[in-house]
């Protein structure tokens, strides 16, 4: 997709959807209730499905309609449903021991997003792409990657860690839709399938954690050191 010659309407729509997805990552960062994380993740996935459809329409990549539908179904419905089942099984409704207060996490998240913008801007300047939606896509992709890692680092509840992994993946997927919409369809399909397997595997492991360790807070997983 020649991002430089994009219809202004399409460019603003892409930007809106990408920024709204990033906003959802911040909602997750600023909340301590597990159900809120889950909702934010579901909304983020729908936004990304919308983005796929928009890219398909304006960029002329008709196979992305398929990706949009499957993204909406798998990321937007199946994964949140599976995670909701895990939440119901758990006896915890919220993060009990964050390493950082949500407010502090939001500040760090903002710094991280700025860093991502600097990197994207630098690369955009080298490729003469500054001011296009590609730089924004790269920014959102890198920010969501870094915010995912931040969530992994400061959240201890097993479900938060699964969601952090999913945010990493959502970021990559979103970036790929904007930057390389021509990527072979097979790769996108298999990555979606892979996500499903990840969540099912981690769901089973959460059950084992409950049954054999008696906790789902990774703070208590401290036996193996040295």
């Amino acid at each position: 997709m020649p991002v430089a010659s994009l219809d202004p309407l399409a460019a603003s729509l892409f930007s809106l959807l990408a920024i709204a997805s990033l906003l959802m990552a911040f909602v997750m960062l600023g909340s301590r209730w597990l159900k809120d994380y889950l909702w934010a993740f579901a909304v983020q996935s729908w936004l990304i499905a919308g983005l796929s459809a928009a890219v398909a329409y304006f960029g002329g990549f008709s196979e992305l309609y398929v990706v949009a539908v499957i993204t909406g179904l798998v990321r937007g419905l199946v994964l949140p449903y599976l995670l909701l089942r895990i939440v119901r099984r758990l006896k915890v409704a919220r993060e009990v021991h964050e390493a950082l207060q949500p407010s502090a996490a939001l500040v760090i998240g903002a710094l991280v997003a700025m860093f991502a913008f600097l990197v994207a801007h630098h690369i955009g300047a080298r490729l003469h792409l500054n001011g296009t939606v590609a730089v924004l896509g790269l920014t959102v992709m890198l920010s969501m990657q870094l915010i995912g890692f931040l969530m992994l680092a400061i959240r201890h509840e097993a479900l938060s860690q699964i969601l952090a992994l999913l945010v990493l993946e959502n970021g990559i997927f979103l970036g790929a839709q904007i930057l390389v919409p021509g990527m072979p369809l097979l790769i996108e399909m298999v990555i979606l399938f892979d996500l499903l397997v990840v969540v099912i595997s981690l769901g089973i492991l959460v059950r084992y954690l409950l049954a054999h360790v008696g906790t789902t807070s990774t703070r208590d997983l401290n036996r193996l050191v040295g």
Binding site: I191, D194, T218
Partner: protein, 487 residues
């Protein structure tokens, strides 16, 4: 011919998984998995030779058999065979016959993903096979359902999945960079990336390569991304540890090695190899520190894997015919030797009922044959002559020296000596320490456990005394394929 063998290679474990799932019987599962491993190994043996002549791609361009991939495939198949024989003896000791068919189904599935990864021609599909190896092996690590093994399985899955997502990000950035050269839509193959590489933007290629290096480096267990490795490798059952250490790490290392020529063709200068060498030295350093002060017997072996992955990283980092030859020779030697070490560690752990080396004394008196083989393996794994790891490590040192990487060579040599002293000190205490503790009664071990130990040690000794001439030609072919590096 080659494509028929590849079909056999994939079908054998796949059919085994399905048949085991259908029968749900422990004894049948053992036999089916063993049969699959024998077939897979038989199919993998001629592949390196065939890969020199006709390399595909097969099956719509998704499968590629090149000398590098065929070599990794051979190492994987060998470890799969050894671990499958050993598993029959070892897993019966656990007394989990009711769940045993699940273990073997996962085991064969794990082997299938590892055998698929080295021949994937599509960079994205390769990433997915590596991710699948993590998910399947996590359940093997947690198979014993103890508190520690579940903890290890959880940490393993989360850390490696997060780390490897960086590799996917790097792959996408590479593809994006390539789309400025090849147009918006093209096949995501290694060859396409390499073809586009000379015209890639330098900054973008640097970013992409570093992401890929850190991503796959996490899976390889290169320091400082190695934190999951000692847990996962020490808490799984011994045959699983052998597969993780001897086979899985190599298949992930392959990803890094394949990206180096792409990065070099993108004119990144010394950065790709320099970064890999740096991670290699860091791994050796971390391994040396933790080996000296180690208390758990399987954790000792796990840190030894970090060490040897560091050696491999140095070998591929130095590059050139000598560096690549040393690294590939080291790969097969380490695969065989580390399998032996985990087999022995598993038996000792079962015999003494502890993981702590402090409680393991006078091994030779209680397990004469297995103890002697394990001792031989310990001498070999620390890189002492006359075993093969000595030859491959010296070759890598020579490659670094002639390539003008003096500081890395000095660091590697010093750290290898530290590892040797630290490792051997633990072995000395386990074998010859004051036997004040009442040990268990001498165990009669089943041949299923002992035969694979013989099968692993014998080639390590033979390859240490005789480096076949044909292998030099083979390694030279791989070095040409990879290009660059020291003369």
């Amino acid at each position: 011919m080659a494509s028929t063998l590849l079909v056999a290679l994939f079908l054998a474990p796949l059919v085994a998984v399905l048949a085991i799932a259908a029968t749900r019987d422990a004894r049948a599962a053992e036999g089916l998995n063993l049969l699959a491993s024998v077939l897979a190994c038989a199919a993998a043996l001629p592949l390196p030779w065939l890969s020199l002549h006709r390399t595909g791609p097969f099956w719509g361009g998704y499968v590629l058999l090149d000398p590098l991939g065929a070599w990794v495939l051979l190492c994987t198949a060998l470890v799969y065979l050894l671990a499958s024989i050993y598993a029959i003896g070892y897993m019966r000791l656990l007394g989990e016959d009711r769940r045993l068919h699940r273990f073997y189904a996962l085991f064969a599935g794990f082997a299938l993903t590892m055998l698929a990864a080295p021949v994937m021609n599509n960079v994205g599909v390769y990433w997915i096979t590596i991710e699948l190896t993590t998910l399947i092996s996590a359940f093997l690590v947690g198979f014993e359902r103890g508190r520690d093994s579940i903890e290890a399985a959880w940490k393993y899955t989360v850390i490696v999945s997060a780390g490897i997502s960086l590799a996917l990000l790097g792959t996408i950035v590479f593809y994006w960079a390539g789309s400025h050269v090849l147009g918006p839509s093209y096949e995501m193959t290694w060859a396409a990336l390499r073809g586009a590489a000379p015209k890639l933007d330098g900054g973008l290629a640097t970013l992409a390569f570093l992401l890929v290096l850190i991503g796959y480096g996490t899976k390889v267990g290169l320091a400082p991304m190695h934190t999951w490795l000692p847990d996962a490798h020490s808490e799984g059952p011994a045959p699983v540890s052998a597969m993780l250490s001897g086979a899985l790490l190599n298949t992930a290392m392959l990803g890094i090695v394949r990206f180096i020529p792409v990065a070099e063709a993108a004119r990144l200068g010394g950065l790709p190899r320099g970064a890999l060498i740096l991670l290699g030295v860091a791994s050796l350093l971390v391994a040396a520190l933790f080996i000296v002060r180690q208390e758990g017997v399987k954790r000792l072996m796990a840190y030894s894997s970090v060490e040897h992955m560091g050696v491999l990283a140095l070998g591929f980092g130095f590059g050139g015919p000598l560096g690549v030859a040393g690294a590939l020779y080291h790969m097969v030697n380490h695969s065989l030797n580390k399998s032996l070490m985990f087999f022995g560690a598993g038996l000792v752990m079962r015999g003494y009922g502890t993981k702590s080396m402090g409680a393991i004394r006078a091994v030779l008196r209680y397990q004469p044959t297995a103890g002697a083989l394990w001792l031989g393996g310990a001498v070999a794994i620390t890189g002492a002559p006359p075993f093969a790891l000595f030859l491959s490590e010296v070759t890598i040192l020579r490659a670094g020296w002639s390539g003008g990487r003096g500081w890395a060579v000095v660091a590697m040599a010093l750290l290898l000596i530290v590892v040797f002293i630290g490792f051997m000190n633990h072995v000395r205490q386990m074998y010859f320490g004051d036997a004040g503790l009442p040990g268990p009664a001498p165990a009669r071990l089943s041949a299923w456990c002992l035969v694979p130990m013989w099968l692993a040690l014998a080639p390590v000794l033979v390859l240490g005394l005789w480096w076949p001439e044909g292998l030099w030609h083979y390694f030279a072919a791989v070095a040409t394929q990879l290009g660059g590096g020291a003369p």
